[in-house]
Symmetry: C2
Subunit: 174 residues, 2 copies
């Protein structure tokens, strides 16, 4: 059941636990919206833009790249870019790669990455969230922002998934 | 300038300040994406779904209704529903009401509601976030969730605004 209380999840320090609660709430809503989709709904990208399958692969990829940045202080290797690049950048390559995959295949990847995130966050404490870091362009950020952004990006694409499904249903009703 | 550090905003208790930081970050990104839109872009809803103007009015309305629920422990009055109902429910009434308005008119309403939110949050402390409450259907929630949801709803609709603009630009490029 989806929880409507933000509170610190057990097994984490206080603020990391709250961030996890928000990340997990966002994910639970996403899963609710896509769990029953048909193959056609997952693959549809004729109307332009990204298919729902592509968006789900993007959600997993964004989370993976934020693991690498936040926990390993590095960017993706060439090999990792080979694997995750299409999902990160979306567009044509993603359209070729993320097609005819079942909803379970998408959800399994999302879950595996999320499990890693939670394991890695368990080893950190609240002070880590505020670690002051700098991007190569000199702009400051902290890991708290990075994980806020993972949530933000998922919610934003979930909004797009909703629009696509609404348009799809309206078309079907004509 | 948009900040990429989640940290407690001054003038609030610790956790409320962080929530404010996330709400304000989300808003800053929204404003960046819509500030330069043309009247045509704000009003377009031929492709189905809600125009960007309607979505901006919805973002303000959702925030207002969460003020009323979280700070006043009540639902909207009939008078308030008269004013905010179309923006909350979207659809045809919203389409009639939110049309030919300038971007500044939308942003001014959003800002006025946000200023009220910040004033009201200044009077609360972190313990208030965790106040255990119940909806009429028996489901528990806390004010922390309500304000997380205000952010979640804005980000979700911002994702839809992005899709609309991308589709618009692709069409223009044909």
């Amino acid at each position: 059941m989806i929880s409507y209380q933000v509170q610190s999840e057990k097994g984490f320090t206080d603020k990391i636990g709250e961030l996890v609660c928000m990340l997990e709430h966002s994910r639970a809503v996403t899963i609710t919206e896509v769990a029953e989709l048909t193959q056609e709904e997952l693959d549809e990208c004729e109307s332009g833009g990204n298919s729902i399958g592509m968006l789900l692969s993007h959600i997993a990829a964004i989370e993976y790249v934020h693991q690498v940045i936040s926990f390993e202080h590095r960017d993706l290797t060439e090999e990792e870019m080979e694997e995750w690049g299409p999902a990160l950048e979306l567009g044509e390559k993603a359209q070729q790669k993320y097609h005819s995959l079942s909803i379970d295949e998408y959800l399994d990847v999302m879950e595996a990455i999320r499990d890693q995130t939670l394991e890695l966050l368990k080893e950190k404490d609240d002070a880590w969230l505020y670690e002051n870091r700098e991007w190569p362009n000199g702009v400051s950020y902290n890991p708290y922002y990075l994980w806020f952004h993972v949530m933000e990006d998922e919610i934003s694409h979930r909004g797009q998934i909703r629009s696509k499904l609404r348009a799809w249903n309206n078309k079907a009703a004509l």
